[in-house]
């Protein structure tokens, strides 16, 4: 396990937790991954959620669902991640998933110019169709193969800045920047619950069931 955050289910014993954590806020966000097929969306999520990497990841059908809980400062953030399929024929499915999402990661492959162009199209579509408050991150994946890169870092960086996106080059294989990009998103997401329907604020005096230890 190379990741800092622990997987959601491994710790739920409320009894062991000191009372101090009961002050924590708990948020839940819906996050969607978009991008052309074979850019490494599923690998990215798998690395983030389970800390694993498969050289030959099966292609996703439709969409896959995963959850992960991380802790920033004293807020517990639970991501509900919809990892959509990149193949063209599933394109029509994507709006179903990004429509209610609070965050999106658009992934491209740094060795593939087409995938970068496709990512740009996705960003456009998100701007047009998704919720206006959506936090979008651009991830240039397969950064471990930067020696045969086609998309330059600066080019992507510039594009991201122009469009107000978070940007990182990541590598699901090495784990580089994987947690960071999710953390960055979590930080950028609004934590107050007045504009988030799905945020659950635990009662003051009862022990929080939904939270996990962030720091171990």
């Amino acid at each position: 396990m190379a990741t800092t955050p622990r997987s959601g289910g491994s710790n739920s014993g409320a009894a062991q937790r000191p009372n101090g954590t009961s002050q924590n806020k708990s948020c839940q966000f819906k996050l969607v991954l978009l991008g052309e097929s074979a850019v490494g969306k599923s690998s990215l999520v798998l690395r983030f959620v389970k800390g694993q990497f498969h050289e030959y990841q099966e292609s996703t059908i439709g969409a896959a669902f995963l959850t992960q809980t991380i802790c920033i400062e004293d807020t517990v953030v639970k991501f509900e991640i919809w990892d959509t399929a990149g193949q063209e024929r599933y394109h029509s499915l994507a709006p179903m998933y990004y429509r209610g999402a609070q965050a999106a990661i658009v992934v491209y492959d740094i060795q593939n110019q087409d995938s970068f162009q496709r990512a740009k199209t996705w960003v456009k579509e998100l701007h047009k169709q998704a919720s206006p408050n959506i936090v979008i991150a651009l991830a240039g994946n397969k950064a471990d193969l930067s020696n045969i890169r086609v998309v330059e870092f600066d080019e992507a960086k510039q594009y991201a800045e122009e469009n107000g996106l978070l940007f990182m080059e990541t590598s699901a294989k090495t784990g580089m920047n994987v947690n960071d990009i999710f953390l960055a998103i979590a930080k950028k997401l609004p934590k107050n619950d007045n504009n988030q329907g799905s945020v659950i604020k635990p009662n003051g005096n009862e022990p929080t069931q939904t939270t996990n230890n962030c720091c171990k």
């Binding site: 009894a15 059908i61 969409a63 959850t67 499915l93 659950i200």
Partner: protein
Amino acid sequence: MAELKAPSLQSLLESDRGSTDSLQLDFEFEGLDDVEFAIPPTDVLPTLETVLSEFEADSDVASELGVPVPRATPTPSIGEDCGVRADGRGGSGSGSIMRYTLLHGISAQLTSAAERVNAGAASACAVAAYIAVGTSHGHILNFDVTQTLRWAHQDKQSQGAVSSLAFNADSTRLLAGYARGLVIMVDTQTGDVLRELFDVITPNTGVLHVKWTSRSSLALCADAGGSVWSLSFTRKLGIRGCTSRCLFSGARGEVCAVEPLIMNSQGRHELDQYCILALATLSKYFIVTVRPRLRVIKYHALQGPADCLPLLAWHLVLIQAADTTRSVDPVIVVGRGNQLFFHQLFVANGRITLLYLRHVQLHSSLLSAHWLGPKCVASLDTSEILHLVDVRSSRELECMDMANAGLVYGSAQFKGLATGGNVSPAFALAGTNACYNSVVSRGTQLYVLGARSLHIIGVRTWSERISYLVKNHRWQEACQLALDGYIASAERPRKRAQAKERIIMLFKEYIANSARAPDYCLGSIVNCMITIGELELLWTQLWERLHNNNTELFLQHISEHIEQESIQSVNPVISQALVDYWLQHSPAKLEQLILKLDWMCLDLNQVLKAVKRHQLFRAQLYLNACALNDYTTALTELLPPLQPDQTDLGNCLLVYVSSCLAGRRFPSGDIPIEQVHQVKHDVLRCLTSQHSSASPQDELPYPYLRALLKFDTRETLNVISLAFQEQEFSNELGYSHRKRIIYLLLEIMTPENATWAEIGCLLNFIAQQISTQCLPRDKQLLERVLSYLAQENIANESARQHSERESAWHELLSSNCLVDISSDEEQLELAQRAHCYYVVENLLEKLRRYDDMLDCLIHNEARHETMFAYMERHVGIRERCIYEQLRRHLGKLLQINGEETTRLIALHYPDKIAELLALLSEQRPLLFRLLQCLNARRCELQSTQMELLLELYCNLKDADTVLEFLHSSSGYRLDKAIDIVERHHLKRAVIYLYEQQESYAKAFELSMELLQSSPADAAAKEANQIAQLLARSAQTLPEKQLERCWFTLLQYILPQQELQSITKSLLHEASQHIDLHNLVQLIMNTHNVSSSFGDVKDLLMSMLISSRQETEALRAAADTLCQNLHADFAAQRHVARRGLWVTNMRCLICRQRLYDQTQVLVLGACGHALHERCLVEVTPLQQCPRCATALPMTDDAGEAPQLSTIRLPCPSQHLFNSSSTMELGTLQLKAPPRRFC
């Protein structure tokens, strides 16, 4: 801190200044820090209810005091699950409605008062803002809401026990009545006695009740003499005074119960201006206004057992009338015995009216009845069990045993023990169960006074009941109750929202409390949340608490709800877990769930991979179509490997294709309208695509369509024909599509790749399509179809396939499709060769060639029924040649249906029967069939024909059938029939016929032959038959012959050992017909030694009996005869002794005088007479010629009736002489005259 405690009773009593002491105590501690000592702020004093409600079943304290806590007894009258609703609150959780509390502070004080200052046991109590308790030694203790003793008052006048206590409306004054008649008024703040009233009631009686009325200065007092007094308090010039007035005198009926109506509605109610009072005696109850003037509003009789007191209680109740008007009116409950009556009091047209509302009957007699809130009445019965009754439903909600409370009774006051017992016996008896002053109610609480304790019974609200159940971890009941409440509040949104909030709170309590056993009562809580629609809490809080521990039960519950379709969508986390769980346990169930779930909540990647792995093709088709909008991929995956034996998959695919082509979604619903066209197009293109996506080398063209056809040709074609009815196929382009598909089908279904049956299906399909104008009439196509249709012989063709072929051909013919390619004549030939008789039939009809019509009808088994109808219909039409054809095919027709054929012949060709019979003379079975049917139709057959039939019967059937035939039919000649039958040696038939001929002797002889030749086991039956025969013949056969026959039979039977069993019955039978003497002789002669005496004994006995009977009869007959003779004689004598008188002086005949010395005949009773010589002239004379009186006649047999005359001696000469005036001597009368006038 010790000083901070409430002053003990001891200290209060010892202090001279009474309660002021405690006040001073308070002043001393004025400077205390509230926070330091956690003293509650004084400006927000808690109300009595709030404080008391906090003693939520503090049973620990109660048990410390040694007072057992009453437990709710199981209620026998209502079941566990009975849904009694009190104001929409479920009542299923028994034992949760009533809350019991022991006021341990007050109880402790009472105990210590009794022990230390000899206050005696408690005798009365009153509850308002304070709680006052009186004791049997005249002490009054006043407690505030915190159960602190505020003051105590000791009676110094030795007035006996405190019998009654009452607070006024604002709790500033306390009235107390004593057992010896004193009434005092006390200031509740200080405990100072303000008034002491000695003479306000009937002297020498005790006080039973003191009550305040709605007027602040008016109180009531009832005494043990049964009188009621009003006490008006005055304060003139600062001097407190009181005037008492007698309202009701006990002399006119002793009042037991007094209950003033106190409304506290501050003038908002019309009744406020009145001061109203309810009174009850042992026989009636009254509603009375005291102010403005004393008047009785209404009174009712009140029956009940003698030892039961009447009970009265008022309460303001919201009453909804039938016309939906609502009003808040006081309702009085009147109880006596086990009855409760409810009456509403209201003002109508300026008059106060009492309206009867309802009646409740309980199971046992009551001690008390009090309202607990406006909906419930709490009543204590004589066995001290408290019943809570819901007024609206008249049902008992709950009951509780209060026996341990040690309830105080006021019997001593009712019996007047303190005043010398001068009360009426009825009063004293009724008073045994008096507890008016020891059970009191306030709000929704009932206070029960024990000798040394005070108990509270409260009614919990819905929310409190849930809390109570939660506290006892009765989750199931709590959930049920919560849901009941939620459901009951359906029409009231505000209440519903509150209920929902409460349920969410319950859920949180559940979450907080069930950490140790997370799956305890999981089902009910899940059900609760789903019902109120708070799914998010389930997915987050409940799920996460269950996580990793025990999700199985949770998932099962969720699955159940999905199956019941109470939820369509779950959290993706749950759906993932569900899929995993059911994949392990039952993939089939998973499929069910997937089909019912919204696809948006599924992890498609997981589910689709799983369904593909587990071959859940329904789910696969559904998800591909609905979620991925991909209607063809699943087809291309599932179709190629389809094998004919995978019926489930195959049928599923057929349904899928069919519904897609019809614009419907699989398995239900519709495809969005904008996609329909695309979907149809895609699916059709997919089906008709020439190569699959994988496209292996050896693949035959059109793999998908081929796979479907291979699976089930017929159904596939059905699907296609259904699809052809869609709009897409009906335009110009559609026709070409159709054509293309047909050619595709023909290309696939070549004889090398398909069986003939399948090709037949296809061609039939095409024929149908062409004939229904669904396909263009393509000559090439038609020729191909016809060549198939006209095939002479198809291997393994089933009857169904053949008939389908025929009907297809027929349809083509009838739609005139084949005109272009061949003529009718050619087709006729083809059809005949192909044995398509239906087609032939139609062609013949078309060509008007009726001669061979029957021929093809006979060949076509399916048309046999129609054939007869056809013949029937056209029997009169000459050109149809029915008779000729019938003649030709008579044999076959008879074979097909004998009855119908015969019917036809008998009905339409009765004159041709002989001809037809002659025709069949060679074919004996057919001839027989025809004759038999004719006979069965009761046709008039000639006797020769009958005999022919008999002959045939004898030839073709067995003896029994012949006999049956002979029995059932007539019309044959007996002698001929005997000849025929004898020829066939059918002896029984011969015997029957002989009997018919009445030649019993011959019949008997034959029968004897049969008997003698028959084996032993059949002989008995045979012998019986002969006996029956003889019995029948008894009428006709001469006696001698009959006897001889019997003898022959018996002589044969008797010696036979093996026929012993029937000997007796035969002898009996014989004895009726032949002389017993001879019979006995016969027996004696033929009887062999071994036979027992028993057989003969009966016979002899019957002989003896019959002899005795005959003797008896003879004697009886002689008796009767004698009697008759005597009676006759007596009658004759009577007649003879009657006197005769002659009324006429002239003869009836000659009109001459009678008295002319000739013989005179008097004609009897009428008195008319005639000369005997004149009689000759009128013979025969049978009645009196004058008055038609019947004359006595001799009736000798064989001779003409003659007048029977009785000759009487002539009157004596002496008589005549004595009457000298008349010449009587000349009159020779035949009867003595009696009267002459």
